[in-house]
Amino acid sequence: MLFNSLPFLIFLPTVFILYWFVLKGQHLAQNVLLLLASYIFYGWWDYRFLALIAASTLVDYGIGLALSKEKKNKNRKLLLTASLVFNLGLLGFFKYYNFFVDSWVNAWASAGVTLETSTLNIILPVGISFYTFQTLSYTIDVYKRKLEPTTSLLRFATYVSFFPQLVAGPIERATHLLPQFKIPRVFKSEFAVSGFYLIIWGLFKKVVIADNCAFFVTQIFDAPGGHSSLELLLGGVLFGFQIYGDFSGYSDIAIGVARLFGFSLMTNFKFPYFSRDIAEFWRRWHISLSTWFRDYLYIPLGGSRGNKWVQIRNVSIVFLVSGFWHGANWTFIVWGGIHALLFLPLLLLERNRNNMEGDPLSIRKLPSILGTFFVVTVAWIFFRADSVGIAFDYIVQMFTNYTASFDVFLKTSKALLFSCIIVMSIAVLLCFEYFSIRKNRNEVKLNRLSAVFIALLILFMGVFKNPADFIYFQF
């Protein structure tokens, strides 16, 4: 079920009414309702994959309990390994099997050896990367004795499948979300209102920003050879806004929906396009994933301890794995690699904490903001392109095909209309974000009037005919 769909418009108020009016004060029953609602939400897309979530839930619940009883380190390690093998095995099979087979065959082919293999026609279950990482964090935290395992299968199952963030995050840690299923729910009006406003803001980002940008992005990326350098550059910029609107919009809606049910989810995006360097960008972009990798990969690898080479190795691994997490394609790995290359100089020069989120923005920092945005945009080209070769050609043409042609944005009245909508909506986005940063907020806070204004923009500037899917569903 998509957040921006008619079924969800009926689903959400129904669950809300049942949750707060019919089952008020019965938090166990409320958990049962959330679990059922979550399975309906996920099953709406493809009910066959509910078995995967159920299996993942049962395995990690069982391993969590076993870990709490097991005293021997060797056995505990075995249990952790079993969880890792199961979860990463699921992910590996559904997401990476064909990629590995293809890469293996191609590697041998480049050495002149032809291998006879066949790939499988595997459907990637929506959100598998998200809920796998969520359950893994639980087992690892229990293993590290940072978290007491839950004895309630219901609570754990609801935590794993919690519908607001099930398919595209934020990737919640068990330490943060799981305890919230234990305590009785008290309706906090202000908290719920903030969630309602955040849903409106998230819808604006998705339906207005992302879906309108998609109109040009698809045209430009589908045939980069036919476009001028300016169009290619703007294609990259618009993809940057498309993916931001799409993904952070989803996160905002998820956080907002969770608040309606009394749950607090972590902030996933903190105005990343106002970052003054790449290190700051990664503290503002997809925070739930970057902190996951920090805690469960970077730090176990040694983090910033050790000599420079160890630091370089650790950072490179984290960025490459992060790229690979996004999808089974070399484009994502190169994307991760580019970010590693951009991040490493800051780390080595110990300048990765020069620009912290709380530092005030000033006009003098505008060149740094634009510079960071530019390098992020170039990296996005790899993320969006179908292959590394196409991405390279795109970039080469962007820097060599010097023509000021702007045709794609103006050639028809429809294109001109979309261009105007995009310019206006991005201006609105950046204004709201800028004032939120100035007030040192983590999210855009709307009031009554601005919420109505944004809702009207959604209605009259949004894409409702043939809306694009959420990009991050494929991950």
């Binding site: 707060w20 309706f187 009006s189 719920a192 209102v193 309602f196 429809k414 209309l417 979309f418 009554r448 919420a451 109505v452 809702a455 009207l456 209605l459 009259f460 500037m461 949004g462 409702f464 005919k465």
Partner: protein, 298 residues
């Protein structure tokens, strides 16, 4: 909870009122304009009596130049064709024409050739252009009684009560043109003062294609409805088949008069694509049509 419900009720209420006002205003603006054919007919066509009207899809729109035809045949006609429409839309346009108190001796229908036999159960792509008149019973009936309901038909039919649903769903096609119409109420969406449009002469050569022969049985049930409506209003219905680059039609029909131009021209220089003539092709076709019409009008 009360505070929350009150808060969101205020926001939703204010939003709905403003959305309603804006969308109703948007439809009003289009209703008073000449932007799309339905409102063009109401606001810009002063004559009430015609010798013929052309109802069609893009083929009718771009093949029969009513200005040239009238000049040659001394007739009075108008082109009410709209691209991406089908026979059901032509039926609706005829109802709309009659509802305006206008009459015609002949009604030439010029859909895409396949429409004569194909049965379309849903709405056609550009039927939303009637949205500004959704409160008229024949239009709301058309949207709501469509056989195969889909998102578009649901959106259009519910717009009778909630105009913001249709205006937002078709915001690029309705809302923004309505703003333009507010500034330029006489602006037309790619057709001239007689309702015609022409495709340019392309420099690029068309792909070679072998001409084939196809049969037409005129089995689309909407034709029965059209015949009935015409008969009730003393209009003679004429089926028109526009020039086709790759097909000659064999007709299986006795009841209605047919003007078959499918094979009157075949040189590529007269075609924009396989089913549309360009401005040169339109000139020739309209000339031949005018000769035939003169005979009919005698």
């Amino acid at each position: 909870m009360k505070q929350f419900l009150k808060q969101i009720a205020v926001v939703i209420g204010l939003f709905l009122v403003l959305a309603y006002l804006l969308s109703a205003g948007s439809l009003w603006s289009l209703r008073k304009s000449s932007f799309y054919k339905p409102s063009f007919l109401v606001n810009a066509v002063e004559e009430d009596t015609f010798d013929y009207i052309v109802l069609g899809a893009s083929t009718g729109l771009t093949t029969l130049d009513t200005k040239a035809i009238d000049e040659q045949a001394g007739s009075k006609g108008i082109n009410l064709s709209m691209d991406d429409t089908g026979l059901s839309s032509h039926y609706l346009m005829l109802e709309h024409f009659l509802a305006e108190g206008k009459t015609t001796k002949y009604c030439i229908i010029a859909p895409g050739v396949n429409a004569y036999d194909a049965t379309v159960k849903g709405l056609n792509d550009n039927d939303y252009r009637f949205l500004m008149f959704v409160n008229r019973p024949y239009i709301s009936r058309y949207f709501s009684e469509v056989e195969e309901k889909d998102m578009q038909s649901n959106v259009l039919s519910s717009s009778k009560w909630f105009p913001f649903i249709g205006v937002s769903y078709f915001n690029a096609e309705i809302f923004y043109p309505s703003i333009l119409s507010l500034i330029q109420p006489k602006k037309r969406n790619r057709f001239d003062e007689a309702g015609n449009y022409t495709y340019p002469v392309k420099r690029k050569q068309l792909k070679f294609i072998k001409k084939k022969q196809s049969n037409l049985t005129f089995s689309n049930p909407t034709l029965v409805k059209l015949n009935k409506l015409c008969k009730t209003n003393n209009i003679e219905l004429i089926y028109y088949i526009a020039p086709l680059r790759a097909e000659n039609m064999v007709l299986d029909l006795t009841e209605n008069r047919v003007i078959d131009h499918s094979a009157i021209i075949d040189k590529d220089e007269y075609f924009y694509d396989n089913i549309h003539v360009n401005s040169n092709g339109r000139e020739i076709t309209s000339r031949i049509f005018a000769e035939q019409l003169s005979e009919i009008l005698k």
